[in-house]
Amino acid sequence: MKRFGLYFLGFVAVAAQCEPSHARAVIQIPSGVYEPFFREPGEADQRIVSFWMDKDPVSRKDFARFLQRNPEFGRGKISPRFADSAYLESWTSENVASGDSDSPVTSISWFVARKYCGEKKGRLPTVSEWEYAADTNSPEAFALISDWYARPNSMDQPPPRISSGKLGKFGIRGMHGINWEWVEDFASVIIQGDSRSSNATDNQLFCAAGALSAKDPTQYANFMRFAFRSSLKANRSVRTLGFRCVYDVDPERSGPKL
């Protein structure tokens, strides 16, 4: 992860000057406590400091505007170091979004998602922030995600619509049941490819061993999400993986730092 972080520092600096961000609905997530799904023995609950979050995932329309301002992130132009060949796979070479602008942008790499949020003076949420805002330990979240995975994708199916997303506990839309979403520290909980190994490097996360450190081994939706994240690399683009941004609280005007 360190290596990626270093790449990225250089990467942000290049594009530090950008247009003011487009007006978007953001919602304040109150401070609170997140009980980690996986934890080391003795690890305490995490205190989450209040932050602001996009109400909706970033749409294809939003992203098309971003590409107009930053054509170097277009498909075919971006370095393979920052995005693999599946990047924006359904977009034409002119960077016009195909499909509905009410659909979340997907097939996007972590580098570019991060760049996008940076341009908005925001950032990607951490795993803890995302899980807390999505109220992932609730039965409602489990029901939504269970329903979602049980409907398989077909290749000719139109992409999901943002407006079809359900509002969560804090009024954030579609965190479950539309797509997976990027988080800043997606690799911080390393779930090994073999879900049952239990050597020292994987924090004893899996199957039999993993079930011991999981908060609740019957929370299959959480296992699915953490396993999905752990299969990612920062330049990966996946058809069911989008993102949304978060913003730190601006102490001067008690609103988001925008």
Binding site: S154, I191, C207, F223, T240
Partner: protein, 468 residues
């Protein structure tokens, strides 16, 4: 000299795996590309005397499919089918394995082949994001029949949704030649809806944790080996079944009704562990190889002899054996006679019993018929008359039952076997003659033809008597 002798010994001792020569240059091995072979078919024997480099590629795909008639399920698959394709290599082969995860997948997947010696049986080397592929290589160090399955968290769910199959590592000398080989995998499913509940059913984690499946099936769906999808053999042939148990939870008591396994390679190993076996135990995540010669024509029924799984949850398959009958082995029924016990004691007890109640009205016949039905018929046709898809025809709105009264009486009186169509769906099974009295037959037919929305005239005892 001594080495040569040991080598010879290793070659000649049956069921003894010799050591693999790891010093051969793998770049010089002949390369063999494989194409997937799906159940119930088995890839052909390798027929090789030396190791090769085998290329295997499997695509993981999440798709909607049929679990039972009218019941769909979102399967997670190797190769688009449940079970996944069967892989066949030879002891000592070097295998380059590529796992491709289809871009439409929502989950990452991987593969743990029990035949692989290495981290997670390959799970670590094959962990793959949707829209990507992974390749790893392994040496087939241990001959035998092995399960493979997905081992991505939550592992139980990936298996419960259909991600398993078999890899056969042939011993160097191969298996003895047989006439037919089949690939059968048992597994169980845990949908939200009860057995028979229609529509697309999602996975029910609670049932999986309690190990209470709604379906136990062979080759991925209820009826996947029945009727025109039955496997076939001819009288006099020798049959070998590569039988795997994908689980995720249940241990199978694998049995073939109407046959005895001549040989069992217990737990999928490479030596015959027992001969003349009626039922062999196959653990979840384990296997067995069974061989038997089919001697007479019949429809052999493959079951999990934990028998409610077979009759109520779908664990039924058929092997149809065709050829000339042989009365020296089996005659079929030769005598069908009335049995009247004799002796005073029995007579005197009978005389104290209440006289058999004569039923005349529709209501009386209906009520008496209901109790006959529940005792004699419901085990197969089910209490609600819905039958079991692929095995026992429904009586609810059954055209076969309602269209022809004489045929209905004949069926109950004499039994019925062979192919029939009920409401357009083909069945090919056996209903025995149950030996009911004419009175009971009239009553039970009155009941079934006037229940669950059926409507018909009352059957009387004299109606039944007329049918000889």
């Amino acid at each position: 000299m001594i080495y040569a002798f040991l080598f010879l010994l290793a070659m000649l001792t049956p069921g003894q795996a010799s050591a693999v020569d790891l010093n051969i240059d793998i770049t010089k091995l002949p390369v063999i590309e494989t194409t997937p072979t799906y159940a119930p078919n088995v890839p052909p024997p390798t027929n090789r005397k030396t190791p090769a480099r085998i290329k295997v590629s499997i695509e993981t795909k999440e798709l909607r499919g049929r679990l039972a008639d009218g019941v769909d399920y979102t399967f997670w698959t190797f190769g688009g089918t449940v079970p996944g394709p069967m892989i066949r290599v030879r002891h000592g082969d070097y295998v380059d394995f590529t796992l491709k995860n289809h871009p439409s997948s929502k989950m990452p997947h991987n593969i743990d082949l029990h035949a692989v010696t290495g981290q997670g049986g390959g799970a670590e080397g094959s962990f793959t994001t949707p829209g990507h592929s992974s390749t790893f290589s392994f040496r087939a160090l241990n001959p035998g029949l092995y399960v493979y399955h997905c081992a991505t968290a939550p592992v139980g769910m990936h298996i419960a949704n259909g991600m398993y199959g078999m890899i056969l590592v042939e011993p160097e000398a191969g298996f003895p030649k047989v006439d037919r080989e089949f690939y059968v995998v048992q597994s169980e499913f845990y949908p939200k809806g009860k057995n028979g509940a229609k529509g697309l059913q999602p996975f029910d984690m609670e049932k999986a944790v309690k190990e209470q499946p709604e379906y136990v099936v062979f080759n991925g769906a209820v009826g996947a080996m029945n009727g025109d999808k039955a496997i076939n053999a001819k009288v006099g042939e020798t049959v070998r079944i590569f039988f795997g148990n994908g689980g995720p939870n249940l241990v199978s008591s694998f049995h073939v009704i109407g046959e005895v396994f001549d040989k069992v390679y217990g737990e999928g190993g490479i030596k015959v562990s027992q001969e003349q076996v009626q039922t062999t135990l196959v653990p979840a995540g384990g296997s067995a190889i069974v061989e038997f010669k089919v001697e007479v024509p019949s429809t052999l029924i493959l079951v999990d002899h934990s028998i409610f799984r077979a009759f109520n949850k779908g664990a039924l398959g058929m092997l149809k054996v065709e050829g000339p009958a042989n009365a020296k082995i089996y005659t079929g029924k030769t005598v069908d006679a009335i049995y009247l016990p004799e002796g005073g004691a029995i007579q005197s007890i009978a005389s104290t019993a209440a006289a058999p109640k004569v039923t005349n009205t529709f209501e009386e016949r209906f009520a008496a018929g209901k109790s006959v039905y529940l005792n004699a018929c419901a085990a197969c046709h089910q209490a609600g008359g819905e039958g079991i898809a692929g095995a026992f025809p429904p009586l609810v709105k059954s055209d076969f039952l309602l269209a022809n009264r004489t045929r209905a009486i004949e069926t109950v009186k004499k039994g019925l076997s062979g192919p029939i169509k009920v409401n357009g769906v083909a069945f090919d099974g056996v209903m025995p003659a149950l030996g009911l009295s004419d009175e009971d037959i009239a009553n039970v037919l009155t009941f079934v033809s006037n229940s669950w929305g059926n409507k018909a005239k009352m059957f009387t005892t004299s109606d039944v008597k007329k049918v000889k």
